[in-house]
């Protein structure tokens, strides 16, 4: 048996990724807070794929318990996919530090706390892969969501360093940078159709990139070029944009 551990498994991207890996022969640990809510979904994956799917309780913000959780997994996973994220509200976070902290810790500190443990184990075992779902928002700070963006930017940097550290240990790290994705997180937003990916497309891109040991994948792919342009705009000009 070969388990993949998906953290933040309630998100739409995570669910699409879970189906994709199970369809390709992997067993699954689905980890989330209030994992009882994942029972219907895990049942769905079991019927579709006839693979083993286990729901496990995990709150990565409960930092001290992350190690306990990982030690409790009888069979260690071949790979870990982190799909934890919290978009938050930029304006609220400017006046409310609790919101700020929630954005930073969910998108960054919690992920780091968890991946530190995974990295040490994979490094020792000299095998495994880690997929971190960051965001194009981390490529440049925009006034409309720079708190989320800065946390994702930190995550991107962390994953980059981790990739370099684990390279010699035969452990691969993939950074995923989705653009707009049609999920519960973005319901009600007026997203441009041609630039918006469905979760199933994101899952396909992640699976392909991970299997081919890619380092960074933008999804949809067009975001690589959009962000290249966005990054190349000089700061004196960029600060005047209303985006």
């Amino acid at each position: 048996m070969s388990y993949i551990l998906i953290v933040g498994a309630k998100s739409d991207i995570a669910k699409a990724v879970a189906r994709k890996y199970a369809e390709n022969g992997y067993d699954l640990y689905l980890a989330a807070r209030e994992s009882i809510e994942l029972e219907d979904f895990s049942n769905d994956v079991k019927i579709r794929t006839q693979k083993v799917v286990k729901c496990v309780e995990l709150d990565i913000l409960d930092y001290v318990k992350n190690e306990v959780f990982y030690n409790s997994l009888k069979e260690k996973p071949l790979g870990v996919i982190l799909a934890v994220g919290y978009l938050g509200e930029q304006e609220k976070s400017q006046n409310n530090f609790d919101e700020t902290l929630k954005i930073i810790s969910t998108n960054y500190t919690g992920v780091v706390s968890f991946l530190n443990i995974i990295a040490n184990d994979f490094e020792k075992r000299k095998s495994g892969f880690i997929v971190g779902i960051s965001s194009v928002s981390g490529d440049r700070g925009r006034k409309s969501n720079y708190l989320y963006g800065s946390a994702k930017s930190a995550l991107t940097t962390y994953l980059s360093g981790l990739r370099a550290r684990l390279y010699k240990s035969n452990v691969h790290v993939l950074t995923v940078k989705p653009g707009f994705v049609a999920t519960r997180m973005t319901v009600g937003m007026d997203l441009p159709e041609k630039l918006t990916a469905q979760p199933i497309e994101v899952a396909e891109d992640i699976f392909q990139a991970q299997q081919k040991n890619k380092n960074i994948v933008y999804t949809k792919w067009v975001w690589r070029w959009i962000m290249l342009i966005v990054k190349s705009i000089p700061e004196w000009k960029f600060k005047r944009f209303n985006i």
Binding site: D40, F41, N43, D44, I47, R48, T49, R184, V187, D190
Partner: protein
Amino acid sequence: MRLLSWGNYPKIENLTFSFYKNSTLRHIIDKHNELIPYGNGRSYGDSALSKNIIKVRTYNYFLNFDKTNGLLHVQAGVLLSEILDVFVPRGWFLKITPGTKLITIGGAIASDVHGKNHHVDGCFSESVEMFKVMLPDGEIVKCSKQENSELFKATCGGMGLTGVILDAKISLKKINSKYINQITIKTRNLKETFEAFEEYKGKPYSVAWIDCLAKGNELGKCLLMVGDFSDDGNLDYQTKNKLNIPFNFPSFLLNTLSVKVFNFLYYGKVRKKVSKQIVDIDTFFYPLDAIDNWNRIYGKNGFTQYQFILPIETSFNGLEEILKKISNSGKGSFLAVLKLYGQANDNYLSFPMKGYSLALDFKIEKGLFELLDELDKIVLKYKGRIYLAKDVRVRKEVFEQGYPQIDKFRSLRRRYKMNNKFNSLQSQRVEI
């Protein structure tokens, strides 16, 4: 936001709502009117278009499968293609499937779709053991042929106008192969076409492609394809790479000449009067699914499909008259599909009846709707009716005459206050 139907016509602004839980759906229904459920957007006309659209596609869990009897329980947003991907390799197939697998279970029930085996096995509702539907007041009701049978008969074929279908149990059938043994019969005119249908009606699957631009003594010539599953034990089913039509073609590409050339080549490539082939499930049942966005070949103005059925007694004369009218108009299509049907069922608005149905695609252009109005008159003269899942323009009077149970449907809608809550452009046009 502009959510379109498969015909890319009409184009209207709408608000869309998705749901993952019943409680969310209840809230949407409570807060809004002029709602219509929307599956995977494959109905051709305006039956799933309205000011407010409930997208059901995200509600897509498999709930249970009982391998002792092939009973599959799924949520309404599951696509037929997802079911095939999972179950063909395990030796199961849909009892009833239409000519595309890219539709949801909810849509299949709401249009009470049918397939190449209608003359033997009937409509999709024949494979539905039970379903649950959420009514305007948020109540969830279980329906089957035995339980709440009125709601069952109204909802199967009811075009989403009775509420939102949540989940359904459907029975699958056993197969031993992903291949179909196909026989192709080439006919020279309508009389031969009818004789061929009659001769091969024992075969479980049959459909004919008909050259609707042929005239004179070639009127009604066709390629009839019949078949049944092979028994070779090969169940290695995988969807092949698809072609894609990346943008709308300029609409002048599709004209009388190009359709004539296509028809000539398509018909001409079959040499023998009767020939045999072995083809896979996708080629036999879902030939058009191999091309993503094939609807774009009709250009940005969109297209419609005109599908009618005539009772068996009047089919020959009626089809002859209609084919003459179409070939004289010069407005033909690549896809003209003729099919023999079995007995009608009891559902209030199901399309099939014992007889022949013809389906033709037309790009939307000047003069088209006038031609279709003319065709409507002939359909009515021969006691036929129009298929709502394809329709975008039929008049109320024409529609009503074809569906004798329409008043039962209307009064049920009033009784449950569905008419205040669920409406599509189509339901408003034909006043159902």
